[in-house]
Point group: D3
Chain length 238, copies 6
């Protein structure tokens, strides 16, 4: 039924390539099928003004798409002189999600910036960014521990994210572009390794969804995220 | 328990003042307690480039806060030269929500812009904007019908929006600022008059929420939104 | 003769609603007939860089129009990424005018920002902004006195502003939009309660005005402003 | 009494150098003493969107200061990414003033842009810009007549501008920087060759001026402008 | 002598990975040692306004660096709201260089945009961009030929680019970051397969170079570029 | 052969007018034939953040063209809200070139800004800017020596710049607009008074140039620059 031939509750091939680039404290190429995102974690000893002198750090995120990561070329945001609304929405979501598993006092007065740059898009770039961004963040925290910059790992949990939606009447997990562009309902879910929710963002432009559909989609997301967290853990131990 | 003394499932005083300003096709002052938003609907005979020649119209929204609608003065976005990420996120949400009950072919090749300008903020400005924006949009559609610009009302349903959250361990409806600023979980829900969901945006920065909590919050939202739609209907018939 | 039926030297209905919104140190809705402007005065303990360490404060103003305060919707300046020339001109005028009655040493090293946001426009928005802005400023100064932040009221006078022009050959006071849009000469005058001039800005695009016309317009403005200052005083004492 | 030794009603040395640069349809270096402004008039066969198909043209102006035209270097507006409020105010004034003597139907559907670039500032740059801009505009109109692009000179009058102010208690004409920076009252007047007023912009930041002072300043301006128009005429005939 | 142990006239390992991403008409990952750049060529049926109706096409380029492609994180240009001077300089250079081997009439009225996005920087990102950009452009032209959009290959030659400089007194080819950051003279050369020069950009900040040094550097560049063109050809034939 | 009748190795009339404007520490009008640029050098006691506390100063440059310095009016960069790529490229070149003869320690912790504003363009504005900018810089350094702000002249050499190109098959020196707009090869060279190279920027858009042509152009540039440095010296001694 699905264009890719996957079962409704089946993720795409998920891959994490750690140390993908050499300069960042954490650098991961995450692939959700044909969606490919470079996630880097950069540690900076400065913190935003509103946090100065409060003894805790910050985690923030920025998101971008290479102009030809998509089927037709998109204008480069740097050339247009502003980041669009979609970009801002996504990078705010990534940052909030990652802060949810971070003990910011243990991090100390420093900032970690997660850059998520999509080099190839095939649906689900924001969920791939969160899922891959967590791995980059974990690597950066290990780097600080190894260098004895911090004493205790500030991560108090794990998170991952996946999309769910209703495609031709069937609830499905981890939509690719072929599904995403025709599905009327689309939900992005972020959960932690304790099966609790960090973010739920469901949107129905055109077709409103009923409580039962909602519940099935949440069930699918729970299963998918548990799977993703397992794969993250393997990658980090690998 | 709640700072305002309200019951957990109790809305604030809700008021709609139609024809609040004189120029717009629809103009409503919406009040959710001390949160006050001017919502206007403006009809323009032009449509965005990507819709030209397709025989259907567009509904979009813009959101702003007066600099001193809040406890301490915020910088004016026009002076800063850009709309912030939060503003963009909110106005995209309002626009998507209102398009969900709009038959864009019946509207014809014209654009309706819903402007939501917060003159006093006390929590829940985005849910008040959607709820009041719908009333302004309904008035503007009636105006077009009265003027025989269109033959059939393009609205095929009603929508309203409310926030729910967990305040000191208790799920509560329609958070005011005193609750919102200390609640760890906050969810904005948009539903239609058929009890179906248009948008669900739940965020847990710090405290992740469990499936049971999620379900109770959704229940609260369903009740609150049914109530709000009743009040909208009364206002529109009044 | 006048579209509104007013006598040439007759003001529109003038109304001041103090404490219009709850957060600002001074908050006034000013109405000149159908022109309605929210004026708030916000006190901030910081001052601009060029005044640091000089022992005196600053008064500045910002001006905006809600997109649908006018007959056809205007683009939102925040969305366009810049304030237009007209906006800048007006807010500079408001700021200069209010500084003319302010003892900036008595204010101390703090900034008062007057925000003038037009919610409905029907001509004369800048004169209404100055006149209402003064009332908001007076309330904010009283607030600082009541809180014993300052010892002496920094206001050493009162100001108000009105427009005059030549409509169909007759000099008239306080032009509304119907007059303003066809009048060829338009003058905005700001005066204090000692009958002295703070600002005179007369513009003739198309029809130049003669010295005699000029003198009659100035006479009209003197009378109108004396009246406005009386009404301000009543409002502040009310 | 005056720093320059001039009599109260005495202009600075005024000089117009026509054909100052070679490309523009009109190009004038205007000098008011040490204030030097290059004014060019450029004719373009396009008109702004709001005038299309109406059979008449447009005159607009832009103003800039070279960064080191002043005593201490000012930031370049192009580098700052925006024109400041003062620049916008001045260029709007120049454009409005010049349109007041222009028969826009006789001009036909074309735009004349007057660029006023200050290469050395010593007070009165806006009045010099208007006065010199008129000469550049007159040359550009003659150029169009000579080339038979238009049949009739669209200029139906002449304009010039001068500043007046109160310096150490005495009303004076054409203030230089030494006077301007200490004078409390400052007025810019634009008049035509029929002794009628185009613009009057009087500002009293700190010291309000009385009706008698106002009248004397206007008298001074009338005399100065008559003189300036004589000098323009000589320059154009020379 | 060189930090990398290379001979003075030795290139780094050069690699071209064609079809690196799936959407673009041409997509190449180019590696000059640790410098890695994704070059894509996108064909668009629109052309810039200044070329409309002239029967020929356009080739342009954009350049960007991922924020953490470098040793310390750089601010994202999209977030800063403008492209810096260095970015503009580089993308103008890439565009000019590629246009030099393009028969723009054979291309027809379409635009090819070469996007060069640096994912890892280790010196020489602009020369790698030009060299890899050519391969992407060649693939895109072949794509148009295969699809019979054009009849004749618009490329009438090949180009490549390399840097040369003086490192510790010795002229060297293809500087990496360790050399580049301490070399006082740095030159980027673009040549075609006919041994002719397209661009020469030599800079001596601090140490000026003599004619003899200049000549030796040019000799080195000629050899290196011949080598690079050989490698491009192998990659395109592979 | 040349449109101007000059010999291939003949410069245009070169003129330097020192003290062209009165406020700057150095102010020079430089003319290369009909190309006229005002170059000012401004000394500021502040330095950029990245140099603080390092005991040395900075030299930077900004470049602009008056809108009607060219044959058809160019949009004003301040009005467009950004400096274009060409402007950035040129001002970076001017700054780098002048820093090459500056002992930044002898300058001390201060910044010199060279502003180059083109009032009339006829080809070669960047080479005129560098050549005139050097004279302005020399005057500013002498000013600091005269005022005993510095003890030793930080200039350890002289620089000048000229363009060379191939016009109708013949290598020529100092191209004017008539030549520049049709020449296919264009090179800008900056050299010092020790006959060494500071910058070489050669561009062939369309026609690539051979090594022999390259060598002849460099020979021409060497001769022209020696001549220009002689003229600078005369002007500075005059």
């Amino acid at each position: 039924m699905r264009p890719s031939g996957r079962a409704p509750d089946e993720l795409r091939d998920i891959r994490f390539t750690r140390n993908y680039t050499k300069h960042a404290e954490g650098s991961v190429l995450v692939e959700f099928g044909d969606t490919k995102v470079i996630c880097t974690a950069s540690v900076d000893e400065r913190i935003p003004r509103f946090l100065r002198g409060k003894g805790c750090g910050w985690v923030t995120a920025e998101y971008g798409m290479l102009p030809r990561s998509t089927g037709s070329r998109m204008g480069r945001e740097a050339a247009q002189g502003r980041q669009g609304g979609r970009t801002m929405e996504i990078q705010r979501l990534i940052g909030r999600s990652l802060r949810a598993v971070m003990d910011r006092e243990a991090l100390g007065e420093r900032t970690v910036t997660i850059d998520c740059d999509v080099i190839q898009a095939d649906g689900g770039t924001r969920t791939a960014s969160i899922t891959g961004g967590f791995v980059a963040l974990a690597d950066a925290m290990q780097h600080l521990l190894d260098k004895r910059v911090i004493k205790k790992n500030p991560l108090h949990g794990k998170i991952a994210s996946v999309s769910v939606g209703i495609y031709q009447g069937t609830p499905v997990l981890d939509l690719d572009y072929a599904e995403d562009s025709t599905a009327e309902t689309d939900m992005n879910v972020v959960m932690n390794d304790g099966s609790a929710f960090i973010e739920v963002q469901g949107t129905a432009e055109g077709h409103a969804f009923r409580r039962e559909e909602f519940d099935v989609m949440i069930d699918l997301a729970e299963g998918g995220i548990a799977d993703l967290i397992r794969k993250q853990t393997e990658a980090l131990e690998g």
